[in-house]
Amino acid sequence: MAAEIIHGLNSFFTFRIGSELFAVNIGNVTKILGLTDITKVPNSPRYFKGIINLFGDVLPVFDGRLKFGFPEAKPTKNTCILVLVVEIEGQPASTGIIVDLVGKVLIFEPEQIKPAPSIGKGFNNEFILGIATVQNEFVIILNIDKIFSEEEINLINAVE
């Protein structure tokens, strides 16, 4: 399955994990799946949930809550797997992330996206592309290529 990243769009797909509203560029989103049984891969970090069968291909799935430092929670009927295409070693690769709730598609013009505050604790700023506001709520726009970057993959590989 040849998934491709579509560049140059200013539409963003929002979703919730824990108490926060996140967004990723719509060009990186390929599918939204209901939560299915996930085959775990032994000896991988906790935030790596395992693999699923995505139309005949193997899709790795991450737990968004654990990945972003939220407490683990039982899945609800709104829990979904968001399928994203990210660039790994210069090649597009599909990956899934479990989110609590999917939102909608919003358009942010570049001037609406503000840089993330560089101080404060919790979330790693490197993963954030910027912050936008929608109906008095902050939307954290994620830099997903960074989140699933090589360093991160090595981390999975190292824990065995």
Partner: protein, 685 residues
Amino acid sequence: MILFQEKFKEEVKEYFEKLETGLLLLEHDSDNFQAIDEIFRIMHSMKGSGGMFGFDLLSDVTHDLESLYEIFRSKKMSINSEVISFTLNSIDGLHHLLTQKPTEEHYLLAQKMKAETQQLIEKLYPSDKKREELGSGEKLADNNIDEGDQTTYFISFKPDENIFENGTNPLYLIDELNALGECNIQTFFDFLPDLSQVDPGKCYTSWEMFVATAEETDTLHDVFIFVSDKASIEIEKVASGNIIHNETILADFLNSRLSREQWTPLEPTISENQIVIETPMEETELSKFSDQPAEESKMTALPNATVDSIRVDSQKIDQYMNLVSELITAQSRLEMVSSKIYHPDLELVTEALDKIGRQLRDNAFDMSLIPLQSIAVRFKRLIHDLSKTLDKKVELVTEGLETELDKNIIEKLIEPLLHIIRNSLDHGIESREERIAKSKNAVGTITIKASTVGSYVQIEISDDGAGLNPLKIRDKAISKGLISDQEKLSENELFNLVFEPGFSTAELITDVSGRGVGLDVVRRKVQEMRGSIKITSEPDRFTRFTFKLPLSLSIIDGLLTRVGESFYVIPSSAIKKIYMVNQQLLKKEFRQVVELEGNQVPYLNMHEEFEHEIQIPNSQFAVAVSFENQLFGLVVDEVIREYQAVIKPLGKILKGQDIFSGASIMGNGQLALVIDTNKIIQKYS
């Protein structure tokens, strides 16, 4: 454009292969004019499209090579082995020139190759130089030539309406003709449909033109060489001399064409002695010309006759395979539903679908197989080159090369096979003198045999050379510290020592073998494909390497097992025996071993390792797998059944996880991880 360039590169690689095949044919049969023609045609195509896509150096060098082959094509002399070797080397050089961003190095290489080619041409056919100069003036439109040397031709060019599809611009061809001499061109739109029906991707134009040129008819035909099967081309001589401004003659000619009369080329009225010189030349030209239509139709017929296969992007095949396995998965779900609902009609459909699905799977599997024949040229080439370098006469005997293997396996197999052949030639086959002294045939033989054995393919490479000396191997192994001098090994075990890292029997490291890649690398590569390699030999008789490889990398026979709530597939090829074990048998203190049939076997309790649970079922199964004669127990909770697993790669994100070679989709759509037994043993033993 980039897309076209990539396509062109692919195409050129194919051309190279065809050239090699042709040249190797010529080696045995230097009068094979069909092969020479083919080589010439490929070079011409390469020159033309190379220039078109910006591979200028390639185009430039090929131009000279083409001139070289013109000598053989025009039967001025026959080809010899020096030229064949030279051309083979040039092909290697052309490989390097297949670049659009040439560096200084590339320019130097091209210059060198050109110079060498010119030298060779000069050596073979000294008087050809002048002709060559004329030939290279092809593009320069040399209009200064005395009109008396020119001939006026009529050319009718009716491109096929699909001509644009392979990227040809007919106008370039017309330009090229225009460069050959003075032209009078008429364009026809007879086939142009109504505006509403015009497809901009199609060509509706045809041309008729008169060309007055000093070139021969061959050169005119060459202009159309790429499109000969995509257009109807007629070339006819109208008159000697440039009569392009004499409209009466041109009109007469066209009238005779319309009334389908035979046109007799007009001879100019020149002084007597000139005619005497000219006549014989005219005759040869005429005879050539009368040959032309027959050859033309042969050229057009050939591609049509041989289209019994199509080229498909390998990605498409992979995609097709994926879809088929999706279908199989959906099918087994349908089966589950059907058995629950139990409706006779549904049952019938399910069964029919099951049957078709299975056939489709076999069919898809079949498509990803390619015959070994496809890499045979590489073997032949290697033997050709090496037997020259080493000055050993060697004959290659092949058998069963039609045996098919998964494309991915073939790709990975090329290097190991070439390595073994290199070894056989360098170390196996003795020098001529030595062979005669041993009263063997002075010409050595290398045999490549392939066959399908069950779900494996067996490839044997043997040479009738010196064979292996078990005592020598033993001494060497002891001196290298691979074995102790007390160890008693069977002959077979001794032979297999050559696959150990750091072992090399050749006393001299020659240029040919010993490139730092040893037999240990060959064995590792074969094992990576879940295959095996064996060696047998008899001193002074033969050395034989036997490769055993799975038919496919993507489908394996396995054993479906359960650990906790997860399923794992263990490849059947590695499994020796399955034992039922309880906790008392699984010793953990001091050494983690399990006693199986009186042997202490190291084991890995997958439940313990993968589930991180203390509560381990009392009764478990130990699947004994082997790795290089070493037994290892994989302890699982349950052995379910035999299982044909379609292996899916885990993808980049999990690349570092090396104990699983992939995942397989089970009937219910769930995934089972496929264990790489070699890796797991290396890791835990």
